[in-house]
């Protein structure tokens, strides 16, 4: 059992990223405020970024620039991938904010339940 705990401690970035991922998912699924849902998405995506970056990291590793020293260097590929991931995440955020703005102008609220109520009320008229 101690070995399992030790493994968890050594791999703490992965543990944190999994915890963050599920916090994000929980926020998305339980909150009715559209902004909070969006924040949940950002938390979740940050968790995956953390996991990739941790996968490429070597503790005490050098910057991956070619040099004569034989020091271990970190894997640059996950970091490069996560640049793409961050760009994607920003686009999603921007698009979602535009949609929230349009919904706010239309319904005067940013709460999903409230919007559903207003919409159904509107249909009965």
């Amino acid at each position: 059992m101690t070995t399992f705990l030790e493994k968890l401690l050594i791999n703490y970035p992965y543990v944190i990223s999994v915890i963050l991922f599920f916090i994000g998912t929980l926020i998305i699924l339980t909150q009715s405020n559209l902004f909070k849902k969006l924040l949940g998405i950002n938390v979740m995506e940050t968790a995956t970024f953390l996991m990739f970056i941790a996968a490429g990291n070597i503790r005490g590793g050098a910057v991956p620039i070619l040099s004569d020293t034989n020091a271990p260097y970190i894997n640059p590929l996950p970091s490069a991938l996560m640049l793409t991931g961050i760009v994607v995440s920003i686009s999603v955020t921007a698009f979602a904010l535009a949609l929230i703005l349009r919904l706010y102008r239309e319904y005067g609220t940013v709460d999903a339940n409230e919007i559903a109520r207003l919409r159904n009320g509107g249909m009965e008229k």
């Binding site: 991922f21 994000g24 998305i28 968790a47 996950p78 991931g85 686009s91 999603v92 979602a96 239309e106």
Partner: protein
């Protein structure tokens, strides 16, 4: 001997719609030019897909690789136009052209003014490019990026409708789809950590050797992948976003979302399941049972929910949930017949569902009525539109001589081969349900009192789109051999039978 222009075909198919898509918003003041450009892109894509198919048949199905920038495989990105990819490219091209024709001069009512229409086209071409990319990609991270491009442009297409409910549907779609891509990205992360490769072939080779060292991580990767793509492709219990998004989108948007976008995610899922995890691991994690069970649940639940809808587009959207069930069911059989049937059904459903959505949209915009029960006598007033709707309905039910039949037949053969008789019964029951929710529309349209109102078939471009789509449905029903051969070879590739 390959000439120089054919060498670059696998990548041109992807970048042509992407590049043209980005310049369209700047041409918003010349809308005619924009429309013609989109149609031209679709025609060229069709020619390129056909050329790739001819090349592939000449080589007896051995894949056409392309190294991006000339870098060899584990370092550079290699894309591959194999049987599966070319099959999907053909489907995209055959469905994309009629949808582009349908939109010609027909978006003002649903989308709005010139700049909004131009942006709609930009998103449409982006989605087309992303789907073509999914067809040829052979790299895990490319899958993620293309999936994100497709998701964002698909959400944009939904929110392009002027109705504020479309924005709400698009937001829900965006949130759930992003949750799905988060899961997919997490899964890709696990795979990269265990294998150290992003190229699918290399990852698969490595995974086969090392998965026993960390079975839980690989299992987690597999389940994240299945759930992530399950949300995006509306696998039954995860379909909640689909009815709203697909029924609220502007008509051509609904057609392309239901017909193609969902299929793109299914193709990605198929590639990753069979090419990266492989059938041994799939069986080890009993993923084929999960797929079969999800397929059965989707067929039954989707059909029953579709029966209860009175709004025409919502009924068609729920029908998509049921039809995705058929495709997933085929993925779960893990044999050549079942997979080939599933792929053929995927192609046939892309044709049929886009026909149904386009004709439904034409009917709704001509009559102003959205409910199934109000559409009495449309058949006589709009013969061509309703004719295409009828052909597509017969195809979806699976009447012989229409393309749906061939797919369902091979799915049935596949289910017998895997010894899953419950699935066979559900395939047949699904057809009956399908008749139950589509034939009342036809009966209403043809055999009821015709109202005196002045409903008419839409313009020339739209009629051409309907004729093309119906012709394709009947053509693949009578002469399924070319597409079916492609599907069978793709299935053999996926199962590594040679």
């Amino acid at each position: 001997m390959m000439t120089s222009w054919t060498t670059h075909l696998p990548v041109f198919v992807v970048i042509l719609p992407l590049f043209v898509g980005f310049i369209l918003p700047t041409l918003a003041r010349r809308l005619r030019l924009v429309e013609n450009l989109v149609i031209a892109v679709e025609v060229i894509s069709f020619v390129m897909a056909a050329a790739l198919a001819v090349l592939l048949f000449k080589q007896n199905g051995s894949p056409i690789p392309y190294a991006m920038g000339g870098w060899p495989a584990p370092w550079g990105i290699r894309i591959i136009a194999d049987n599966l990819g070319v099959l999907f490219l053909l489907v995209i091209a055959i469905v994309g052209l009629p949808i582009a024709l349908y939109t010609k001069g027909n978006l003002r009512e649903e989308v709005g003014g010139r700049s909004r229409t131009a942006r709609f086209y930009a998103l449409y071409l982006l989605l087309m490019g992303a789907l073509a990319g999914m067809a040829v990609t052979n790299d895990l991270f490319n899958v993620f990026v293309l999936v994100e491009v497709a998701t964002l442009s698909a959400c944009g297409l939904v929110s392009a409708h002027r109705n504020p409910r479309a924005a709400e549907a698009a937001f829900n779609y965006l949130i759930l789809a992003t949750l799905g891509s988060g899961l997919v990205m997490g899964s890709i992360g696990f795979l990269y950590i265990t294998t150290g490769h992003l190229n699918m072939e290399f990852a698969a080779r490595e995974l086969a050797q090392v998965w026993q060292h960390s079975p839980h991580v690989v299992w987690m990767a597999a389940s994240f992948m299945l759930t992530g793509f399950g949300v995006k492709a509306a696998m039954f219990p995860l379909h909640v976003w689909l009815p709203d998004a697909h029924s609220m989108a502007p008509t051509p948007g609904s057609a392309v979302l239901s017909g193609l976008a969902v299929k793109g995610y299914l193709i990605c899922l198929l590639k990753i399941l069979y090419n990266v995890f492989g059938q041994t691991l799939m069986r080890h994690f009993t993923m084929h049972h999960v797929l079969t069970a999800a397929g059965i649940a989707a067929i039954l639940a989707g059909s029953i929910l579709a029966l209860r809808q009175d709004e025409l587009k919502r009924r068609l959207a729920y029908s998509t949930v049921a039809q995705v069930g058929y495709i997933i069911l085929g993925f779960g059989f893990v044999n050549q017949r079942g997979l080939a049937g599933s792929l053929f059904y995927l192609a046939s459903h892309a044709l049929i569902k886009s026909t149904l959505f386009l004709t439904a949209g034409a009917i709704i915009s001509a009559t102003g009525k959205t409910k199934v029960s109000e559409l009495a006598g449309v058949g006589r007033k709009m013969p061509l539109t309703m004719g295409a709707f009828t052909v597509a309905s017969l195809g979806l039910v699976g009447i012989p001589l229409f393309s749906g039949f061939v797919g369902k037949w091979h799915l049935l053969l596949g289910s017998f081969e895997s010894g899953n008789f419950a699935a066979a019964a559900v395939i047949l029951a699904g057809s009956v349900f399908c008749a139950a929710y589509l034939f009342p529309i036809l009966r209403n349209a043809y055999f009821q009192e015709t109202p005196g109102e002045n409903w008419q078939d839409p313009g020339m471009a739209q009629r051409a789109a309907f004729v093309l789509l119906s012709a394709a449905i009947i053509f693949f029903g009578i002469l399924p051999t070319p597409l079916l051969t492609l599907a069978q070879r793709a299935a053999a590739d996926l199962l590594f039978l040679q």
